[in-house]
Amino acid sequence: MLNIYRQYTMSISINNLTFSYSKSPDDLVLNIQHWQLHEQENLFIHGPSGCGKTTFLNLISGLLTTSNDSIKVLQRSMNEMKGSEIDSFRAKNIGYIFQTFNLIPYLSPIENIKIACQFSKNNVSQSSIKQMLSDLHLEAKTWHKATHFLSMGQKQRVAIARALINQPKLIIADEPTSSLDEKNRDIFMSLLMEQTEKLNCALLLVSHDTSLSQYFSRVESFNDINTAGSL
């Protein structure tokens, strides 16, 4: 019964979304008729850079807003919430991973994770942070070092920990492997998949690297979703 219910629960649902940075309707960056991401679903969206992927993700995370009711994240309409509500909603429910600059460089991994917990008002113990870091194959000697001393591979793994510590229902990853070499990319992807599965959260990964498709059950091209620009 529960499973059937879940089938119909959406992580993200978008209806008739149009978005443009300028006032002119000809400069549409996004035009999405109907699109959704199910709960606990893993989705890979590929597309070349500059096609509006990041704008799309910023709208989902509430950093950008639209004037209409076109985006629902975890059943909440994004333009119904006030600014501060969106901030705390994002802190609690969305884990975000970028290509680079996922961490405050002068803070240690543990401090970076603690900041994320502060905004979600989650009381996460030091030991569970450490547990998470060791689950992500980060050695104890890196835990208290400023993160700019870490390697790119280590940084991205700390980013996973940072994104997952609040047990969000949705993980958004924007080109998370593009700064990694092949070996680190594979480690990163398998750890990310393993952790999201453990948490039962939805994963939305956007990248130009189509080789990542192998990890996902659902794969889409961004140009199929967004019809803006394809005249």
Partner: protein, 404 residues
């Protein structure tokens, strides 16, 4: 956590932050030093003379008379005759007088010729009489009593012989070598120019000068012909203006009698505009350093767009970003304030003896006055206001934190 973030962020930008902190502490140092100096000088001047009703010298301006007779600053214009002094010494409304005869020195310290009445009637601070830490008053023509500072700096003891010089240079060619004086007493510290002065008898002064000019002569009348000035105390305060008029209208020679308190306030009145200018300058220096703080933070925000974006992504509201910048400004201002207090206190301690010896300024190293606390508090508020511009910029950047 926000404090960790702000302080580690500052540590991460050590170079520019350190320079800003130094700029703020230097400007505060100037402000506090000027203000401290002003307050302490005023207090020092005011406490130098107390209980003296009038100071009398030859006709001159009241400030000039006050400065050379009491503070030993500048040189007297003319002397007054012994006859005039004797005349007023026996004035029925005058209770006591202290003759002052200046012009000689010893190793850069002023020598003042006077008599035992000085030790009896001269008061400083809140009507404190002078007291001896060793020895006693004059006993003989060539006795000398030292101010505490003189004895300490030159390492003199009772019964040591010393030689006076003509004029006020420590390497004077015209030493009164034939007439060594003997140290008979050393005064306790007063925190006034008394500490930097040597006291000899009027006869002693007369003796060395007569013989300086005429070669050795013995058994001569050593009553002085002139003195520089004299202080006096009245039998009744009510008589002040009567006696002052009597002196100012003395027919035999032109004299000036001044009320030390009145002359001092005239002096402060003149100094007032200088004080205001100094104050204005030090406030402008503070303003400049706070603008520097603001500029440094503005520059940092451009470097930190990614950081701000990241904080927004993990759920920081724009107000949090505003707060971080303000907190950084407050931390810088507080550290700058602490440093300036530390630097000024150590400078005061380090240069205390030099300032006392050179300028007769006794400066307390204690900076924690109500006035200073108020100034420091205002500077913190000013720092918060100065940081409002960069903080608002960061706030806006946080609101429109979009990466393309």
């Amino acid at each position: 956590m926000i404090l960790t973030l702000a302080s580690k962020s500052l540590l991460n930008r050590k170079g520019s932050v350190l320079l800003t902190i130094i700029a703020i502490s230097v400007s505060l140092f100037v402000l506090l030093a000027v203000d401290h100096l002003r307050q302490q000088t005023k207090q020092g001047f005011a406490s130098t003379i107390s209980g003296t009703d009038l100071v009398v010298g030859s006709r001159t301006s009241s400030i000039n008379l006050l400065l050379y007779s009491i503070f030993h600053i500048g040189t007297p214009t003319a002397n007054l005759s012994w006859k005039a002094y004797q005349n007023f010494n026996s004035h029925p409304q005058i209770a006591w007088t202290i003759p002052i005869s200046l012009g000689d020195s010893h190793k850069g310290y002023r020598v003042m010729g006077t008599n035992d009445d000085f030790f009896l009637h001269y008061n400083f601070g809140n009507k404190h009489p002078l007291s001896f830490s060793a020895g006693d008053k004059f006993n003989d023509t060539f006795d000398v009593v030292l101010g505490s500072e003189v004895a300490q700096q030159l390492n003199y003891k009772i019964n040591d012989p010393i030689v006076l010089s003509h004029g006020l240079v420590s390497t004077s060619f015209s030493n009164h070598d034939q007439y060594p004086f003997k140290i008979i007493g050393i005064l306790n510290s007063t925190g006034t120019p008394v500490d930097q002065t040597l006291y000899v008898t009027l006869k002693g002064i007369e003796a060395i000068h007569k013989n300086w000019q005429n070669g050795k002569k013995q058994n001569e009348d050593l009553t002085p012909k002139n003195i520089t000035a004299f202080m006096l105390g009245l039998t009744s305060r009510m008589a002040t203006f009567d006696v002052q008029r009597d002196i100012n209208q003395y027919a035999q020679e032109p004299l000036t009698a001044i009320l030390p308190g009145v002359a001092l306030s005239e002096l402060w009145h003149i100094m007032g505009s200088v004080e205001q200018v100094l104050k204005l300058i030090s406030y402008l220096v503070i303003l400049a350093s706070l603008l520097g703080l603001s500029a440094m933070l503005v520059a940092s925000i451009n470097e930190r767009r990614q950081e701000i974006h990241l904080l927004r992504i993990i759920g920081a509201p724009p107000s949090y970003i505003f707060l971080i910048i303000e907190l950084e400004a407050i931390l810088i201002a507080l550290i700058g304030t602490g440093l300036s207090l530390l630097a000024l206190t150590s400078a005061l301690i380090a240069f205390q003896s030099t300032l006392t010896a050179e300028f007769g300024l006794h400066l307390s190293a204690n900076l924690f006055s109500m006035n200073n606390l108020l100034i420091l508090g205002l500077v913190q508020i000013a720092a918060i206001i100065a940081a409002a511009i960069p903080a608002a910029m960061a706030y806006r950047s946080a609101q429109h934190s979009i990466k393309h």
